[in-house]
Point group: C2
Chain length 443, copies 2
């Protein structure tokens, strides 16, 4: 009822003391063949590690020995035998094989080195992602990414957030008409959604109270930097009867929890990446925008006037300032000028030039944006129009504000940037299996 | 640091014995106002239930009493007061208010009835999803959908599956050129992905061993039925060194686990839907295709020749047959003719006309398709070409089979159909917050 030689263990699961003389079968890639004449070592690699297969010419069937010597690197094998303690081998054991079945032979030469001895360029690695993933370092990133998403959902589910799915094919831009990929939707024009923003707000009117979504977002921005993608994974929440301070607390607690869980559950992956992670201390420092520009103007060569956006130099200057003061990488910039935030950010009642908005920053880049939202229909409609947008296109959204919309707040955080800053990854493309950018549409 | 009147409890969380004379604040929608002259009852609704606010004219401040009588239905209020036992009220308590703050007044008339007294048409409900969600029945479906996804991830994560994300913007069709939505990707043509199939297979070559993905898929099919969507959520797995029987076992165990978890964690939602759920018995019955068509030919007026696909009547006939025999709704149809399955399904070595493929069925419809896949490069390339496809377009995929591709198997199951069949929902659109079909692109 199964493959002829079913796997009994991952290479990391074989415990010599427990297993005794029981047969084991490991399945994986031929990582290395060392033929020393009288003895031949074959290293088999699977997702969880490596196993040494030891063949002593005098003690083993000639046919198996000869076959082992001729194994082609990166071929797929199933090795059955008994495990013996061997201190010098990976995981402290070696396997004395009874059979080595080649399940799929690899061609050679290989399109890319996977031993880690030769460093390949990013583009080469992405072109041959199936080879790149055979490097321990690459797999470690994606194991950690899995754990990040698991921990995020765990945290939010336990806090009463309901997972929702918003449509990716939409008729209207979320935040104006730029940066959209057009789709031919049967005989109509549609777009790929930039953000679940409008939909998660509608759900607040529907009474779902607290929701989260983790899904793809699409931005047709032309930039080609190491921090931008045209298709990314966004982690979004929206919560009723909470203000911007409340959801900042949710965000910082969630980030701290995610770090904790990665440290607890992905120790081997962190070790493979040679990273010692520590949990960010909460609460994160809050720097009001007006104070942030003072820091930039005092400590960098840039000048930012009140109302101006913060560029890369500004972000770095503030990040270094906060790091010197607190020893922490994460912080908030709060109370942004209303005009440079999206139309749905709620202005302060006593000073409408400033909004109840925030960015959550890492020392090296922006991670998240959020705000208390406008929940008053007429104010929202006026804000849409004051940004030069046609409020008719937002009718499906504005209707939800007329018949009982609670005060609400929320944020979105990029999954890739969260992983990237956690692991000090240089290029965001290294945190996505099959990245999409201005130039890359394949694989 | 928070909204002026922060919520202390959901309506379902107030425990009279525990709370004593402590102040409570509930926040929500004005569900009902019953003004009996000397006494006025206001029912406030939130995601978790309802609370009765009781105002006795003689005992309460005139201003509050008069304001309460004039509350507009579906307005947003925050009510602060003390809770007293009241057997006839929802959750066994009533709140004697000290303040009722209107946070956002609703317009009237409302665009849709939400009391459940009037049944609205599906289209009306979808047009005003923000109103529809205020019906207990609608919210119950989405709470259960959340739990289904949570349970799926929990099951797969514990079984060693790594969550991965494949791109939604792709250059090549997964299974031929039909049914694709074209995108303008900068100056190039691209498509919305129909399925993560090719990408999850590439990851097997990369050694991720066992992966899952839950994400949107897009099919430009013109059908307009109660079982089809143009944008849906697919739950996909792919696993190395497992055959089709192994992954059928994963699938049936996962479905049973999901039912178990929904029963355990969503009892209130099931009650709201008036559904008594029982866990499907595993293993599910396996009906080989050849036997399935015998059943159709014997028990229905349709005739299916060997090699023909199974339509709705055929599926129902087989479903009823299995249900009569086993009392169970779930079963597999296995061993399909190779020609009517996608190119990547592995033919049996001893009879290549039949493939190691399966559909997992519910009595009422197909839920899932899967197979052991072809892992041999040349065989796969020949199969692609024999289906009239251009293998050059699959180069990014075929390369992954040349340099060490393990035997592997997998399946995909539609999240919406899983929820739909579990809850006996008539129309698949009722399981999606904002469905996309031939006609619907908004909200």
């Amino acid at each position: 009822m199964s493959l002829e030689t079913p796997r009994t263990h991952y290479t990391s699961q074989i415990d010599i003391e427990q297993i005794g003389d029981d047969k084991v079968t490991v399945c994986g890639w031929v990582h290395e063949v060392r033929d020393l004449g009288g003895i031949c070592f074959v290293v088999v690699r699977d997702r969880e590690g490596r196993a040494q297969i030891t063949l002593v010419k005098k003690k083993i069937d000639k046919e198996i020995f000869d076959a082992a010597r001729k194994l082609v690197r990166e071929s797929i094998v199933a090795v059955t035998g008994t495990a013996k303690a061997e201190g010098k081998a990976p995981n402290g054991y070696e396997i004395i094989p009874e059979s080595i079945v080649v399940l799929n032979e690899a061609e050679s030469p290989l399109p890319m080195d996977t031993t880690g001895k030769v460093d390949a360029e990013l583009d080469t690695r992405l072109d041959s992602r199936f080879m790149d993933l055979r490097r321990e370092r690459t797999t470690a990133i994606f194991k950690i990414r899995h754990e990040v998403l698991r921990a995020v959902r765990d945290f939010l589910s336990k806090d009463g957030y309901i997972e929702t799915c918003s449509p990716k094919v939409v008729a209207t831009a979320t935040e104006g008409g730029t940066s959209l990929f057009p789709i031919t939707y049967f005989d109509r024009e549609a777009f790929l959604n930039q953000s679940p923003q409008l939909f998660k707000q509608i759900l607040m009117s529907g009474g779902l109270d607290k929701v989260f979504e983790i899904g793809p977002i699409f931005r047709a921005e032309e930039h080609d930097t190491r921090r931008h993608l045209n298709e990314a994974t966004s982690i979004d929440i929206e919560a009723s009867f909470l203000d911007h301070f409340d959801v900042m607390e949710v965000l910082e607690d969630m980030v701290a929890y995610v770090y904790e869980q990665v440290i607890e559950n992905e120790a081997a992956s962190l070790k493979a990446l040679d990273i010692e992670l520590s949990v960010p201390k909460t609460p994160f420092m809050k720097v009001p925008y007006s104070q942030a520009i003072d820091i930039v103007n005092a400590e960098s060569e840039e000048t930012v006037e009140w109302g101006g956006d913060l560029g890369t130099v500004a972000e770095h200057t503030i990040g270094e300032h906060v790091f010197k003061e607190t020893g922490e990488s994460h912080y908030f910039i709060t109370d942004w000028p209303t005009e440079i935030k999206p139309f749905y950010a709620m202005p302060y009642e006593d000073n409408p030039l400033i909004s109840k908005s925030f960015d959550m920053m890492h020392r090296t880049m922006e991670l998240s944006s959020g705000a208390q939202r406008i929940h008053i229909h007429d104010m929202l409609k006026a804000r849409i129009e004051s940004q030069g947008l046609d409020s008719d296109g937002f009718d499906f959204y504005l209707r939800a504000f007329k018949y009982g919309m609670p005060p609400h707040s929320g944020w979105g955080i990029g999954c890739e940037r969260l992983v990237m800053t956690m692991l000090s990854v240089e290029n965001i493309r290294d945190t996505v299996l099959f990245p999409r950018d201005r130039k890359r549409l394949s694989p």
